[in-house]
Symmetry: C2
Subunit: 409 residues, 2 copies
DNA sequence: TCCATTATCCTCGTGCCACGAGGATAAAAG
DNA sequence: CTTTTATCCTCGTGGCACGAGGATAATGGA
């Protein structure tokens, strides 16, 4: 994934002076409306420093302040919030039947979430529809729009779609989405980004090492360490579904054999039931879950086999990576719920013995189907709030292209 | 692994002022004897800043300078090197038949490497022997010794050995190694730390995401991202050998089933040959490799099966993590060399199709059997050169416990 | 031998950022 | 109306790094 990193930038002296500013702006992400005193406490600033920094950030159109509702005695204070003319990240998600986009402010909130239904026109049409949306939002928000961050239900490499079982796409270049806008485009896998959202503000919040597993068509997700997804050299990491945990004789559309992918989704249920491969594996899985719940023992047995494969693989990944906690997204939660004992037996049985006294909790995802979009927003905001990006924004917002100095008036 | 992180510290204002100092001291690690001008160029400092910083670091007994051999015209310069009374990290490695320790200076060099043979006395005796060595080095180096960093051929959790097939140990607490010294003790898995050494200065140097696989008894290693090992919540990550890539019916001593561990080492070769499980799996593997090389077709076939399992698992991990490069340590290199075509076929066959046009190179480890010790030193030096640790050292070296200010005289 | 060239280092004035003490401000409580 | 509480602002101080200009010490050639 060409997702921007989470670092402050650290590139030279011009951006070094933004270090505290970066800390303050990012603090806003997970502390939505702090008072100035809160800020000083949490970031170990003196009140004088807080005054100076917030003043600068207000002039740079990054923050604004609103009077706080009075609570007890003491001098009334103000709450810090994103500036009404502050910078924005556009988060986009491409999924099977529809795409979504939303605009995110520096406090991490999503605004103006909208959905674009796909009309079976293939990747070109989806891309064209989204490009039009990007152009329109660009016109509306002008220079406030700084970054476009895209989550896509596909294997992603160097900002391109390589292949997608969920979408039925082959290679697709996504650069046209932002053509002509000069906006940086970040592209990531949807399951991986949903994992980022879970690790930062969802089920695994607080976990320094979190594992997310999202079952849809196949299984994706991956590790999130200190809020950053572990996505490898070209961004194609997080493809845990293509570890060979399954039957080595079975061929995967990805080109390899024995992929875990083939054991844990609707396709696997169909195979166990002797059905033909379903065209919509997710929908099929939901139907079979319903059947199993209503007493169809054949469906229940097929589901249990899939749940066992899920639990066993989860345990293997816990052995290999030792996360603080695991989150289950997409179908994984309903699957486990359909056969919790089978999951637990396979999970515990697959763990190395020393993990069994306090195994990492396996939690249902908290963000539902907004996870990928939220994760894309988080990653886009990370990029938007590097020292370098803030310095650039300061130039845009104040009309001081040289960024030679903070303006003091 | 309770390995110190690679960050500058970032904890409060008292250590913030050490930021540039941290950069300079760490620069020394991979640029052994820079001139002051080199330093200024590489770290984008002005010559004035370089003067000030090197002066401070000299007074803090972190650096010293020696005249550089003249090369062409121009004012002669000096080379920066570790201060002769500067801080030290003690790197220790516990392996099957012996332990080793060495003292590392801030430039990353190992000094005074010594070996302690084990006399079958079990963990207590090994621990006691090493504790004596620590005490002796502590006496010799006094306050210069800052950190003890230990690599051990075992599964490690929260600084304790959980279990080790290679050593034949059960749970062992390693804290007694530094008892009474008040020295911080970092403990990591040997294969993981060898991976750190490879990723920083070895075969995969330059790779931002590197995968190391070390076959000894079982297989260990793991991911190294930006020089930091991905070791999870309690430090037990990197146990890639306990992913269930093998025969689900086979029980692993770890408590799980189907572990990859059981398919890629001497035990696996013995199984394929119908031999009893070897007591020394590594030695047995070497003997079988020799036999296969000398024309024993049965041994050769067994080796080929193991090599195929290694290649297939490697491919799966590449699918899952998308590293820039892979390094092979321990027996993995000789195994591949014994059946390179089988390895290549299994590796390429196990990759997702899109990886096949330019798959990550699989390289033999460069550090040989010094990898773990070097990795332990690297990680110990990371800890020793955080902002907080340098500030503390400054107090020790200058007798200014308040560390209220840099001394200017 | 002397001087130009080259490379490096040092000095000093300046700017920026954050600190911290003390005072100012604005509400509630008495 | 005064006290208490909580917050904010002002201003002097200090540390660190920058950057221009000068100083220094070698080589190489006249």
């Amino acid at each position: 994934m060409s997702t921007g990193n989470f670092d402050a930038g650290g590139g030279g002296a011009r951006t070094a002076r933004w270090r505290t500013a970066v800390d303050v702006v990012r603090h806003l992400r997970h502390h939505p409306r702090p008072t100035r005193a809160d800020l000083a406490r949490d970031l170990a600033l003196t009140s004088g420093s807080a005054t100076e920094i917030t003043g600068r950030l207000r002039r740079a159109k990054l923050l604004s302040e609103e009077p706080a509702p009075v609570a007890g005695r003491g001098r009334p204070t103000t709450l810090l919030r994103p500036h009404p003319e502050g910078p924005l990240t556009l988060a986009v998600e491409i999924r099977h039947e529809e795409s979504r986009c939303a605009v995110a402010t520096v406090d991490g909130r999503l605004h103006d979430v909208r959905t674009l239904r796909h009309d079976d026109g293939g990747p070109e049409q989806v891309r064209a529809g989204l490009a039009a949306a990007v152009r329109e939002l660009r016109r509306r928000h002008r220079a406030r729009l700084r970054v476009v961050s895209l989550a896509v239900a596909a294997t992603v490499r160097d900002g391109r779609v390589v292949q997608s079982a969920a979408l039925g796409w082959g290679p697709v270049d996504l650069a046209p989405l932002t053509a002509g806008t000069h906006l940086p485009l970040l592209v990531g896998n949807d399951a991986t980004l949903a994992g980022v959202a879970e690790a930062r503000t969802g089920a695994t919040a607080g976990a320094r090492t979190a594992l997310h597993l999202l079952v849809d068509v196949g299984v994706g997700g991956g590790l999130v360490v200190d809020g950053r997804p572990v996505v490898g050299a070209t961004g194609a990491g997080g493809e845990v579904g293509h570890l060979p945990l399954g039957d080595p004789g079975r061929h995967c559309p990805c080109g390899a054999t024995g992929c875990w992918d083939l054991e844990v989704d609707g396709r696997a249920i169909a195979r166990h039931l002797g059905d033909a491969p379903p065209t919509d594996a997710r929908d099929y899985a939901h139907r079979m879950l319903a059947r199993a719940a209503s007493g169809d023992t054949g469906a229940a047995l097929a589901v249990r086999r899939v749940v066992a494969a899920l639990g066993r693989g989860t345990a293997g990944l816990v052995n290999a990576h030792d996360p603080d906690a695991v989150s289950l997204g997409g179908l994984a939660g309903p699957l486990r719920a359909a056969a919790p004992d089978d999951f637990q037996a396979a999970y515990a049985g697959g763990l190395m013995a020393f993990h069994r006294d306090r195994p990492p909790p396996v939690l249902d995802a908290a963000h539902g189907d907004l996870g990928a979009l939220r994760g894309a927003a988080e990653v886009g905001l990370d990029r938007m709030t590097t020292g370098a990006a803030l310095a650039e924004w300061h130039g845009v917002a104040t009309g001081d292209p040289a960024q030679s100095t903070w303006d003091r008036n």
